[in-house]
């Protein structure tokens, strides 16, 4: 394992400690690691001394990092090792114009010119042509085959994304998902802005994961600036992350029930989602928890009054959550719709590297709260999932179990007496020079990870963001194989992936 350096979640290491391998050796190391039940957390390129380097962050039950110098191209691992590298390699090609050779499906990810100023790998001329909307999609040929294109403008108020179905009658043979319409250039912008803007921008990476992404950002700054977070602030952060999880899971269960035209739970869940968002408002004055987490602690102290408000609301609402979940999950027409719809096998999920509830519903137990605990999670009980068949029913059940687990966690946390000494304000702090820090948190969708590299003067050299959706969109595409096209909205909602979190 000389080729890998073991790192810890949220602990900065010197960049000099990252191995710098030859491209061949780098590829072999990654291949070897991933083939032995390893997963990719981050895999990206950055500029260094006029050239470029690749950096990979890997996990099994520990975290590892490794890197290599890279020229204009490197051998792709997607085809001969694992599908896990697929999107990462496309991203590297698009961001830095470095070609992964022999990549089986080398396409644009987000439609932007590369940062390095090299010739575009895909031959696009972004100055003079309208590129988004020009897709070469995988095509199935045949007389009975028809193609259905959906989006990027959809019938509902949802984010833009293009879905191309190859169908034989009602049966979907293949689905290709093309995103990138919400690309805002987050990664390019983050190293250039003042430090105090970082949390604000990270809160906007994916609007429904404001706390998850911001927590990753703040932990990274804390690691680089050597800040300590007191127990009271950790308590508030953990509660906020769990409230975000509950609110989103409830909203999605409601949407799932609405998609199968089972209206009562849709209405009840919709209201309860609002109740939990309001609890975030109790904590920090914002329903999505924006402005709560800041480097060094939290910007709002949780007083006795807030604790009481949260406990009272939980007492009132927890039986309701249970009842409405029972209403949804015991309706046999709902079960008939959920069961066996959109299945992904455990092997497939492991090959794709699915994370979060999408992975857990397939039997991949990985939960960043357990594997790489931050904040208070080290002292809290784990959750286990009963239903792991990989279908819509499993994904819905996992969410239900997580809601119940999160409610129990919040109750446990509220029993603890610690309070924050004082609210922290955003300040500019010197960051450790020539360092690497990787932070991982279990956002409500799954593993959210940020990776920050600093230069010799302590400025940010590269800020890499990864939303769990980056792994899971392919899972949705695989779910639809040989399913009815009319089940697409249901499958889609059971994942409910982020467009803007992917598009950055």
């Amino acid at each position: 394992m000389d080729n890998l350096v073991q790192i810890d979640n949220g602990v900065a290491i010197s960049r000099a400690d990252i191995p710098c391998l030859s491209p061949e050796n780098f590829g072999l190391t990654l291949a070897d690691f991933v083939k032995n039940d390893g997963f990719v957390v981050q895999f990206f390129a950055y500029a260094e001394h006029g050239g470029h380097r690749l950096l990979a962050v890997l996990r099994n039950d520990k975290l590892y990092a490794t890197g290599c110098e890279v020229g204009a191209e490197f051998p792709s691992l997607t085809g001969w090792v694992s599908e896990k590298f697929h999107m990462f390699e496309r991203e590297i090609a698009e961001q830095f114009g470095i070609r992964p050779t022999a990549h089986p499906w080398l396409k644009m990810v987000r439609y932007h010119p590369n940062y390095a100023g090299r010739a575009d790998v895909f031959g696009n001329d972004y100055q003079n042509e309208e590129i988004p909307g020009r897709y070469d999609c995988f095509r199935v040929e045949g007389e009975a085959i028809h193609e259905v294109a959906v989006g990027p403008v959809h019938a509902g108020i949802i984010e833009p994304g293009h879905f191309r179905f190859q169908c034989a009658g009602e049966e979907v043979l293949h689905l290709e998902i093309q995103l990138g319409y919400q690309h805002r250039g987050v990664e390019k912008m983050l190293p250039t802005v003042a430090q105090r803007r970082l949390p604000i921008i990270c809160e906007a990476i994916a609007g429904d994961t404001a706390i998850g992404h911001n927590l990753c950002c703040c932990q990274a700054i804390e690691a680089l600036a050597g800040l300590k977070v007191d127990a009271g602030a950790q308590l508030v952060r953990t509660i906020a992350l769990e409230l975000e999880r509950i609110a989103n899971h409830l909203g999605d269960l409601g949407a799932l029930s609405g998609d199968v035209a089972f209206n009562p739970p849709a209405a009840y869940f919709g209201r309860m989602r609002g109740d939990f968002l309001n609890l975030l408002q109790v904590l920090c004055g914002n329903r999505f928890g924006k402005g709560l987490v800041r480097p060094g602690g939290v910007a709002f102290v949780m007083g006795a009054e807030q604790r009481k408000l949260i406990i009272d609301k939980l007492d009132e609402i927890e039986p309701q959550v249970k009842n409405v979940c029972d209403l949804l999950f015991t309706a046999h027409t709902v079960q008939a719709r959920f069961e066996g719809t959109g299945p992904v096998s455990r092997e497939m999920a492991a090959d794709l590297g699915l994370v979060g509830y999408a992975g857990r519903a397939c039997g991949l137990a990985y939960d960043a709260r357990v594997a790489f605990p931050t904040e208070c999670y080290g002292q809290l009980p784990h959750n286990t999932n009963e239903m792991t068949n990989g279908d819509v029913y499993s994904r819905a059940s996992v969410r239900r179990e997580e809601i119940m687990h999160s409610l129990a966690l919040i109750r446990l946390l509220l029993k603890r007496p610690e309070t924050t000494a004082q609210a922290v304000m955003m300040e500019e702090r010197p960051l450790a020079a020539d360092s690497l820090v990787v932070t991982i948190n279990e956002g409500w969708r799954g593993e959210v990870s940020h990776c920050v590299l600093t230069a010799a003067d302590g400025s940010i050299l590269r800020y890499k963001v990864k939303d769990p959706s980056f792994h899971n969109w392919t899972g949705l595409a695989m779910s639809l194989r040989n399913q009815g096209i009319s089940d697409f909205p249901l499958c889609n909602k059971s994942y409910n992936l982020s467009y803007c979190g992917f598009d950055l």
Binding site: G156, E170, D259, F262, N263, A267, R337
Partner: protein, 305 residues
């Protein structure tokens, strides 16, 4: 004269009753729901608008709404309402009527295909397939009714001395018909569990997806036609449910519209307590209704001779 009034009343009230369904659904979901007169507001709004036509669609697309509206309105002139005889009636009118409704559907489908949208084609394929299956049930009902009262006219089924009735000699068989026709009602009018009138998801819709490209007055005609169609099927079931009408005109009207409201409430309750079927289960569901009626028809062979 009374028949004309009664028919006009039915045409005017048809958009009211879908409001009853929505109110029922809202009640079960503890919501306030849209106002009872919502459908009138929607129609008024649509009629004030202009229509938008794609340059790639032809006259077929413009014909669709008009023909389907006319086809949906016609049966209301032939069905007895509120204990009064219908405006028109002749021997064999049921067969004509169901095929006229078929013509309406045909034009909706070709209008949908005319847009060349991949969604509308899918919706059209589903609608054609499912309504073809529902036709089997409807004609099994007609066979059964023919054996029961020897006529092929809506007027004679539901009005006069020979009317089929639960209290009649083979009344018990009508229980099968009521259940089967309710299932057909849900199918033909794109209700849960076959279709979801509230969904906006173009990949799962059946009827709604076919009318995505229609706008303004065209859409109003389609909507109004859908209300008439639902009213016709509900009135059909109401006649089977209600006791024989032999009270005063006012009492008859009250009983008729009371039972009719209950049918709509039943639709609302069904939609609130059931999820949609998977698309591949829908044919089984429709054929179940056929089986019920066919079984009833077999029973008539025994003891009605």
């Amino acid at each position: 004269m009374e028949s004309i009034l009664s028919c006009t009343l039915a045409l005017l009230l048809a958009p009211l009753f879908p409001g009853v369904i929505n109110k029922t659904k809202a009640f079960v979901a503890s919501k306030k729901g849209p106002p009872l007169l919502m459908k009138y507001y929607t129609l008024a709004k649509l009629l004030r608008k202009g229509s938008v036509y794609s340059t790639s669609s032809s006259f077929v697309f413009k014909m669709g709404p008009t023909v389907s509206f006319a086809a949906a309105a016609m049966p209301l002139f032939f069905i007895p309402l509120a204990g009064l005889p219908p405006l028109f009636s002749f021997q064999g009118d049921v067969i004509v009527l169901f095929y006229i409704m078929g013509i309406g559907r045909f034009f909706t489908i070709v209008a949908a295909l005319d847009t060349a949208s991949p969604f509308e084609g899918m919706g059209a394929a589903r609608e054609a397939f499912f309504s073809m299956l529902a036709e089997a049930t409807i004609f099994a009902v007609l066979i059964l009714f023919y054996r029961m009262n020897g006529s092929l006219s809506l007027a004679e089924y539901f009005h006069g001395d020979k009317a089929v009735s639960l209290t009649g000699p083979a009344g018990a068989l009508l229980l099968f018909v009521i259940v089967a026709m309710f299932m057909v009602l849900l199918t033909e009018n794109s209700r849960v569990p076959v279709d979801d009138p509230q969904t906006h998801l173009e990949l799962t819709m059946i009827h709604e997806v076919m009318i995505l490209d229609h706008s303004g007055p065209d859409l109003a005609l389609i909507e109004l036609g859908a209300f008439f169609k639902l009213f016709f099927y509900s009135a059909f079931i109401t006649h089977l449910l209600q006791p024989l009408t032999s009270f005063g005109a006012l009492a008859n009207a009250l009983i008729f519209y009371g039972v009719l409201t209950l049918v709509y409430v039943a639709v609302g309750v069904t939609e609130s307590t059931m999820a949609r079927f998977k698309m591949n289960l829908v044919p089984k569901y429709i054929l179940t209704s056929f089986t019920l009626v066919f079984f009833a028809a077999i029973l008539t062979m025994g003891f009605l001779q």
